[in-house]
Symmetry: C2
């Protein structure tokens, strides 16, 4: 087969945080596949075909991309942030694994990107400065018990926790349950960050405490970071603060 499939991480939303590798992969594609708002971030190129889809149809989108590549097209699947973190790369390989045997012979390239959690962390200091984990609250395929056991394990062992997809209209209660779970295990003074639309015009980043964290603050564009007991705040003269997790923090 002569087709090619690139799974591209666009980064968090600012072209200054998009890698040359990603820009080149997008420019070389004959077909772009992705969630419509992510496709809208890619500059138009003459003759390039765009296949926009809804956000929930990840496996369908992955199958479309593999099918087009198998027809000899040069396809780029776009993800926000990093392609491999709660994004399209895993869906593409899942579709390959379950799909046509010939798809395994396709030339596939995963192009990493700046993840939402790294972009958010950078705006406020170094909250991911010691051992940390990333947990998605979005996946309907994952039992809630699994989320609870991972959150419990992470908090008890002293990880900083980055929460992806913390809240949507379809999942209004989960983040509140997470905060309740954390309050039973961590001091109320533990730092909590709500980072929404990082590096975009409507960016809003709030640092608060676990005691005061309100789940309603989060929406679909929010990344939440829950610090460990070791995470520290540095007050700045301008009224803002830096947040960091010291490298050597014990559990």
């Amino acid at each position: 087969m002569t087709g090619h499939l690139a799974v591209v991480g666009l980064g968090p939303g600012d072209v200054a945080q998009q890698t040359p590798q990603a820009v080149a992969a997008l420019a070389a594609a004959t077909d772009l596949v992705g969630y419509a708002p992510y496709l809208a971030r890619v500059p138009e190129a003459v003759g390039q075909i765009r296949h926009a889809s809804d956000n929930r149809e990840e496996l369908d989108r992955a199958r479309l991309a593999l099918t087009l590549a198998a027809e000899g097209r040069r396809v780029a699947v776009v993800s926000s942030g990093d392609a491999g973190v709660f994004a399209m790369a895993s869906a593409v390989f899942e579709a390959m694994d379950r799909g046509e045997p010939a798809w395994r012979g396709l030339e596939v390239e995963v192009v990493p990107g700046i993840s939402a959690m790294f972009a958010a962390a950078a705006r406020i200091g170094a909250p991911l400065g010691h051992d940390f984990c990333a947990i998605s609250l979005s996946d309907n395929l994952k039992p809630w018990d699994t989320v609870v056991s991972r959150l419990t394990a992470a908090a008890s062992a002293g990880f900083v926790i980055a929460l992806y997809n913390p809240r949507s209209h379809a999942r209004p209660w989960q983040l509140g349950a997470v905060f309740d779970l954390m309050r039973a295990r961590l001091p109320g003074s533990t730092a909590v960050v709500f980072a929404t639309s990082v590096n975009q015009p409507r960016e809003r980043i709030d640092i608060t405490t676990l005691a005061q964290a309100e789940p309603e603050r989060a929406d679909m564009r929010t990344l939440v970071i829950i610090g460990s007991e070791a995470t520290l705040l540095i007050e700045r003269p301008d009224g803002h603060a830096w947040l960091y997790s010291p490298r050597g923090a014990a559990a």
Copy 2:
């Protein structure tokens, strides 16, 4: 104060994975501070002063950078990968927190980068496709008990685990102890990845199993990924394989 301090993530070693934001921050600096091999990756600029140091002197290096910025210089501290992940951003804020009160008024910018784990993951598929954690084995300030409790919690809860700084001449036994610990909790068939010098001329990436993983395979330039029980291998016709962690995997 008029000085400026940027903590810059260079990405994993390929300029195609370096962001325009990072390139601009490096070009604008009057002074570069960092571990000598990382400084060597930054193009020379006329009039720019380089302050190279040994790898172990992170806090000293951070203090130097803050001191120079407080003198009105425009300083860039360089890290490999992402600046906020087991790199210089946390050290800079720790030095600020413990140092001169005036340092808190400095203009500081953290510039994120493609982390080693994202670059390694991209080369082999999507092993970080579900909930995952990152643990550093390097820090002498962190008790070994903490490492053990975090590894145990992560394996039991079904996280994929990325191990930074898995092995060096000064720390020859830790990685073997980690594999022993994991073998008591995960099937021998669990995927293990050794990714060394990713996207550099001497890149070497091996996918093996927990049963067969030999700690001697790792060195200072290696990132190790330990899959979850859900992590899957896709055999390719060319003899290579893709590795991915399905998005909906339960613990």
